[in-house]
């Protein structure tokens, strides 16, 4: 039987003028997931045509953006300032973001190709050879940008957000620089290393060769040379830290969709799942977040990884609306 529900039928039902027969018809129609979107589209249209009241949107927006949490997540950089300086800083950052957005918009719409930009989706990893022969392996949810003109000739600068592993070719005079959005720069002269810069944390791990880091600490520019096996960590509001690790290659295992854990707690893992698969994580019981796992696993998708975790710890998980719920 042809079952078509149109806007008129839905509007009547929203206004409470529906017969039981019509209700059944709408319910059948909604069984097709395709129709969920039109349902909300028409609900929105109906609500706009019949408003109960008109709230003060501008005030509400100011109030919601004023919430400390929102602000800190918003600028997602540096430690929280107070009062004016924070406002100034967020404005400054907004200006920088706006400038970047302008560049992106120009790029997108006018096709002026100043930068070449490569991105990976959630769950995707990809390796790309740069014009100078250097190899970049991007982890999921990562963007690497570099100058379209002159790269390898007048400069070797790349801009990173996310996580990527670099194998840089040696080039006598031309240093290779990785810029992050954190006041952290990595200067290279031919080497293999991994840079991670997401949210409030940045790490660099060096496998071979030598790199120099430039970063800000206590308002001063710091320089630091890493030796192979060094893991450098910078965290918002905490002191930077360098320690030597035995197997630096483990930190780039994601290149082969390998996940390596060494007494890694579920709460640390939650951050990784968010970064790589775009899923937030919720623990039904906080004690769960402290349980930890060790070992190396191969997983191509979030579901494969979650299945392994669930089996190992003998716990359950469900995914609803982009959130993973772990339970006993």
């Amino acid at each position: 039987m042809e079952n078509s529900v149109d806007k008129h039928i839905l509007f009547e039902s929203f206004s409470g003028r529906s017969t039981p027969l019509r209700k059944q018809q709408i319910e059948d129609w909604l069984r097709d997931p395709e129709n969920i979107e039109p349902y909300y589209e028409w609900l929105d249209e109906w609500e706009r045509a019949n408003p109960q009241f008109i709230p003060d949107t501008a005030t509400a927006l100011t109030r919601i953006m004023g919430q400390e949490e929102a602000v800190s997540q918003l600028t997602a950089s540096r430690r929280k300032g107070r009062g004016l300086s924070r406002i100034f800083r967020s404005r400054l950052i907004a200006a920088v973001i706006a400038a970047l957005a302008l560049v992106t918009a120009t790029y997108a719409l006018k096709n002026i190709l100043l930068y070449r930009s490569m991105s990976t989706a959630y769950g995707e990893t990809r390796s790309v050879v740069l014009p100078d022969g250097s190899l970049v392996s991007m982890n999921a949810n990562t963007t690497v940008r570099y100058n379209r003109f002159g790269f390898g000739k007048t400069n070797r600068e790349v801009f990173l957000s996310g996580e990527a592993d670099f194998t840089v070719t040696h080039s006598g005079s031309q240093p290779f620089t990785v810029n992050t959005d954190k006041d952290l720069k990595v200067l290279v002269l031919g080497t293999r290393f991994t840079v991670y810069t997401r949210g409030e944390k940045a790490t660099v791990v060096l496998r071979e060769g030598k790199v120099q880091l430039q970063y800000q600490e206590e308002k001063k520019e710091q320089r630091l040379e890493l030796q192979p096996g060094d893991l450098f960590t910078a965290n918002k509001g905490a002191k930077t830290n360098v320690r030597h690790i035995a197997n630096p290659e483990n930190l780039s295992a994601w290149k082969d969709h390998e996940f390596l854990f060494d007494a890694t707690s579920l709460s640390e893992l939650a951050g990784m799942i968010r970064d790589n698969f775009g899923l937030s994580v919720h623990f039904e019981d906080q004690a769960l977040s402290e349980r930890s796992i060790s070992g190396s696993f191969h997983a191509d998708t979030a579901a494969e990884l979650l299945d392994v975790i669930a089996q190992l710890l003998n716990i359950h998980y469900t995914i609803r609306e982009g959130t993973v719920y772990f339970s006993e």
């Binding site: 409470g16 709408i26 909604l30 979107e37 909300y40 009241f53 501008a58 973001i97 998708t301």
Partner: protein
Amino acid sequence: MKEPKQSSGNNPLRIAADKDADDQALLMDNETFIRIMLKDDPEKGFAVLFKKYYGPLCSHATRFVYSKEIAQDIVSEVFLNFWNKRLFESVASTFRAYLYTAVRNSAYNQLKQEFGDRLATTPEPVEDVDPQSILLLSELMTKIERTIETFPPQCQKVFLLSRYEGRKNREIADELQIRPKTVEAHMMKALSILKKTLSDYLK
């Protein structure tokens, strides 16, 4: 499992590469536009999304909770959650569908806490959408309106001033020229009728 949506529809670069830029500006619907903005400049994109949907969502929420204040709190919370958890990066449906679903569900939870069986009040996270619960919510909306229509005129007036407008009992008493005790009595009556008629829906 539900993979986060990464279709070509929300990749600005891919769109530009496919089509002529001028055409594209017209073809892009609001949703796509906001998605692109949220990617390029999250703060600004969020502000645009907020301005577009805050009003209608608040209006919609009042149909359930019958209070401007509670409605605005619910909608603000939904937006805050959307921002803090960076859901704009992972929501698989349109933002519109997500926002309406989330607001309706939390309005429902609010009613459950206020008028439902107190013992059974465990606010649940936003559930998967199934046709029955979507319809149940729309029906609940109508039911509440019908119920309020059946209140005696003075009782209805008091209820709307108090609950909907958030006015104080004393102000209402002054305005309607009745005793504060009478205002209280009207409210008690209104709320108990609501509780009784809505109990089937709030299990």
